[in-house]
């Protein structure tokens, strides 16, 4: 059986992701370290401690940001 996927916008780009992921699992999907990334779900920040209890749903917009060089 082919696992179900959902369409989610991640960092402005449409992505097909496995259904049933939490935000923590989404970070793992992209091989990101939750300690260095801040997550915004539908324009609201999700605290690090809440990432594994927050499900990703079809149509969600997720922003994954971190610190880069700047002045």
């Amino acid at each position: 059986m082919i696992p179900a996927t959902i369409s989610v916008t991640v960092n402005g780009e449409p992505r097909e992701l496995p259904d049933g992921l939490s935000l923590l699992q989404l970070l793992d999907h992209f091989a990101l370290d939750p300690r260095t990334v801040v997550v915004e779900l539908n324009r609201g920040i999700v605290r690090r401690a809440a990432l594994d209890q927050t499900p990703v749903r079809a149509g969600d917009s997720v922003e994954l940001v971190h610190f880069v060089g700047g002045g």
């Binding site: 801040v38 690090r48 700047g70 002045g71």
Partner: protein, 263 residues
């Protein structure tokens, strides 16, 4: 104000003390090793960082934190690239969520060519962020009234520009910077426009509390040497200010005795 010879008080922002009066950026370096060496040479204790999307396809570099030791450098996140108060507030919240501190270098840009600030939006963002418990360091122009309004709004430091961001034109309006320093009680950190060591020295001689720079060091042919030059220039300018310069005169005054000359 003047301390015993060569001694200075620390730069204190919202109760946090820094011995170095030089704050440096982390952008535009040739490579991360050069940046790390330049940071060390600058003597800075605070470095700025920006908030951006993670590159999911890993075509670009990893985050900057792999190359900065947060135990050694206090991180000052900025809202660079934001053109509205709403965007700047969003970036500030994301930066704070990264979990290092509540300081934010608040930038709201109003014009793409000059990168001059939108001071109306800046004031709106300042009020919201101060209410949310942020320590706001506001990048602004050299206008006294705006600086006063920012202080009234609760800014922990006001950061007027020397000249436009990345221009390297140096201190264009020393009078305006002096006026802001005289009239405000919060620390004044000149942010942007310094091009070389003499610019930094001249800026510190106006009596301001510190300087923030990025491009002048990052784009120097030898960034590490320039970082060291900037460290000395900031210290020299600060000391010269504390020392109190001699008055300017329109006439010459001999330095050697005029008596005791041979007849």
């Amino acid at each position: 104000m003047t301390q015993a010879s060569g001694r200075d008080i620390p730069l204190t922002i919202a109760g946090r003390a820094f011995r170095s009066r030089l704050i440096v950026g982390t952008g535009k370096y040739r490579d991360h090793a050069t940046m790390a060496a330049a940071h060390a040479a600058s003597g800075a204790e605070m470095v700025t960082v920006a908030v951006r999307r993670v590159d999911l396809d890993r075509t670009k570099e990893q985050g900057i934190l792999f190359h900065i030791d947060p135990a050694r450098y206090f991180l000052l996140a900025n809202t660079a690239g934001c053109y509205t108060a709403a965007d700047a507030i969003r970036y500030a919240r994301l930066a704070r969520e990264a979990g290092f501190n509540e300081f934010i270098k608040l930038e709201v840009i109003g014009d793409q060519q000059t990168l001059l600030p939108d001071v109306a939006e800046l004031l709106v963002a300042t009020k919201t962020l101060v209410q949310e418990g942020f320590t706001v360091l506001a990048y602004t122009n050299e206008d006294l009234v705006t600086a006063l309004r920012l202080q009234d709004a609760g800014c922990a430091a006001v950061m007027p520009l020397a000249s436009p961001i990345g221009s390297g034109l140096g201190l264009l309006n020393p009078y305006a910077i002096r006026t802001i320093k005289h009239r405000l009680s919060v620390p004044i950190i000149v942010d942007a426009g310094v091009g070389t060591a003499s610019d930094a020295c001249l800026t510190m001689e106006q009596g301001v509390d510190g300087i923030l720079m990025n491009t002048a060091i990052a784009e120097a042919a030898d960034a590490v040497a320039m970082a060291q030059a900037m460290r000395h220039a900031v210290e020299a300018g600060r000391l010269a200010y504390l020392a109190g310069r001699m008055p300017r005169r329109e006439v010459a005054v001999p330095s050697s005795p005029v008596t005791g000359m041979l007849s």
